[in-house]
């Protein structure tokens, strides 16, 4: 043993081993962990009791580690939180849907009524969008439920309201209203005549009107106008007057309040629009109505007249245009007459009968028509029939829009119209390629006019002429042929 060890032995004596054990304990991580774990919980307790320094120290690390943990395992946390937040989400969604439905119902109703039309007109007049107007009108407020409650006992006397409210037992609600009434009175005022008149819960407003024996509680969705409160008191007042005796001695038997609904129901019906509350239905007034009727009748007559005149003009145009040989360039009404301007073929026939059948009399027509010659096929046909008077055995026909005179006519008739026929053919107004002379008239013409004696020459000439269209016959040629054969 060295001198130093001896000296140490003298100073610290037998504690050396304890010291080394202590040193080992401090140096060993395991030992230290165990030591801290033993005192950790009591230490936290003690610190929490002393002050909030631990909370302050831990708030940041705890918040950070929570964030990280949620990021890593979102599903697990969602599952833990679900029971806590699901009911409030459900309630919020149900409320939102319910109010949306109410809006939709009202909007549909408004859009299809006179009110809706009014709103549209107002929108055009004021420049405020239609949807905005409708929304403002639609969901101002809605009276959902009314409770008539006996002041003393808090017993429900009567109620009315929407079926779908799903509220708790009305008797219990009514008693609770009364209890809250007493509670608030005791807690804040202590005076008998200080009463709870209104309170708000979420989107609902509850107004309570007080009478000597009863109170009328009104559950309203949205923001009611002040006028509604007056109506609430009026309703309570009229109930009080009607059932004064019953209210004073109410013992829980609601059957004494027959027809109470008649008083309460109007409060529910006068729900939606403030503007509608004071408005009364306008009475039907006969004076203005008559004036409107007269104006409407006059307007109707004028419109009818205009339409009638227009329709007569178009009828005239149609039938004049259809008639051959007439061209209408202008037709209009002047001093109760139809003035017609245009062209008229002297051979044309105007359709006066047809027009008369359509209410257009001949005397109502003033015709300023300039004569002209129409080349329409029908007019030509009519004209040729009149001028040429085609004899029996011939026919005037139209083929592919061209007029033809065909058949066999006597030589006398043919000679009489010869010049005119050739001129018409040259003008291409009449086809004559199938017009022949009759055999008999040819024979007598050869015998008497041309003095050709009977014989083979005459027979030969006759046979040839019979097969040749009239316009192609040349008698000079026939005579020349005869002379030539006689010489032989």
């Amino acid at each position: 043993m060295s001198q130093l060890d001896e000296l140490r032995q003298i100073i610290v004596g037998d504690n050396t081993e304890q010291l080394s054990a202590l040193k080992d304990r401090i140096e060993s991580v395991e030992e230290r962990t165990r030591d801290v774990s033993e005192v950790l919980a009591p230490a936290i307790d003690a610190t929490m009791r002393r002050d909030d320094s631990l909370i302050q120290a831990l708030s940041d690390p705890v918040s950070e580690s929570l964030k990280r943990a949620i990021r890593i395992e979102p599903d697990a946390y969602a599952e833990i939180l679900y029971p806590a937040i699901a009911p409030s989400i459900r309630t919020a969604i149900a409320q939102a849907i319910s109010s949306m439905l109410a809006t939709i119902n009202k909007t549909i109703e408004s859009a299809t009524t006179v009110g809706g039309l009014k709103a549209r007109f107002k929108s055009i007049r004021t420049g405020v969008p239609y949807a905005e107007l409708l929304l403002r009108q639609s969901l101002l407020f809605r009276v959902e439920h009314l409770y008539l409650i006996d002041r003393d006992s808090g017993l429900l006397i009567g109620e009315c309201g929407a079926e779908d409210q799903g509220l708790m037992d009305s008797d219990a609600v009514s008693a609770m209203f009364s209890a809250i009434q007493s509670f608030v009175q005791d807690s804040f005022s202590g005076r008998e005549d200080d009463r709870l008149t209104d309170f708000k819960v979420g989107e609902h407003t509850i107004w309570i009107a007080h009478g000597p024996n009863a109170m009328l509680a009104c559950v309203i969705l949205g923001d009611p106008p002040a006028a509604l409160k007056i109506r609430l008191y009026e309703t309570l007042e009229s109930i009080r007057i009607r059932y004064a005796e019953q209210l004073q001695h109410y013992d829980g038997d609601a059957s004494q309040f027959a027809r109470l609904d008649d008083y309460m129901q109007p409060m529910l019906q006068s729900q939606l629009r403030e503007e509608e509350l004071p408005e009364e239905k306008p009475k039907l007034q006969m004076g203005p109505l008559l004036v409107y009727l007269v104006i409407a009748a006059a307007l109707g007559y004028l419109i009818f007249q205009a339409l009638d005149r227009e329709s007569k003009l178009s009828t005239l145009h149609r039938y004049f245009d259809e008639a051959p040989g007439v061209v209408v360039t202008k037709a209009n009404w002047q001093d109760g007459k139809i003035v017609v301007e245009g062209l008229l073929d002297p051979d044309a026939t105007l359709p006066f009968k047809t027009l008369s059948a359509h209410g257009i009399e001949q005397e109502k027509l003033q015709l300023n028509l300039t004569p002209f010659r129409s080349l329409e096929t029908e007019m030509e046909l009519r004209r040729f029939e009149k001028e040429l008077d085609p004899p029996e055995g011939t026919i005037l026909s139209v083929e592919n829009g061209v007029l033809n005179l065909s058949g066999r006519a006597s030589v006398i008739w043919l000679l009489r119209h010869d010049e005119r026929l050739r001129q018409l053919q040259a003008d291409r107004r009449l086809g004559l390629s199938n017009l022949f002379a009759t055999d008999g008239s040819l024979n007598s013409y050869l015998a008497t006019t041309l003095n050709i004696p009977a014989g083979p020459g005459r027979s030969e000439a006759l046979a040839k002429l019979s097969q040749t269209p009239w316009v192609e016959i040349s008698f000079t040629e026939i005579l020349r042929d005869l002379l030539r054969s006689n010489r032989r």
């Binding site: 006992s153 808090g154 017993l155 008797d171 008693a175 209890a179 009175q185 005791d186 829980g252 038997d253």
Partner: protein, 167 residues
Amino acid sequence: MQKRKICMVGDFAVGKTSLTQRFVNNSFSEKYLTTIGVKIDNVVVDDTKLIIWDVAGRDSLSPINTNYLSGAAGIVMVADGTRPETVESLHTLAEMVVEKIGQVPCVVAINKYDHNAFKLDDEQQNKLTSQGWDIFKTSALTGDKVPELFQVLNNAIGAVTSVGEEA
């Protein structure tokens, strides 16, 4: 349907709420007792709907809110059979009730009959019956005598009403 307001009164923790719990339709949670001092339930007895106002119990710090008694047709007074002082205080409670709403039909429930420490001596019982009150030894645990309690009270109210009408 005929409706009647019934009030349950008694000292703190005598078991008023537990007594009615099994017998009535619970409309509101018990938290109302500690917040506004009353809890409302209802029960139908013989075609009559009893609206039961369970008024928060009286203790040394707060008296019962007698405003809640207004308009009551009948009273159920509840005491704890294991705490004789709560039986004694029924008499002062009754005085408060009469002062507030006058004489109304009244029944007494001495609760916790199932408990070993239940004790109701003859002197106490006689003192109660001398007031004209019907006594029921009830048990919130088993529900024993609870329906009878309300039945008798409802009948008593019916009798008083019909006498009143005849008069």
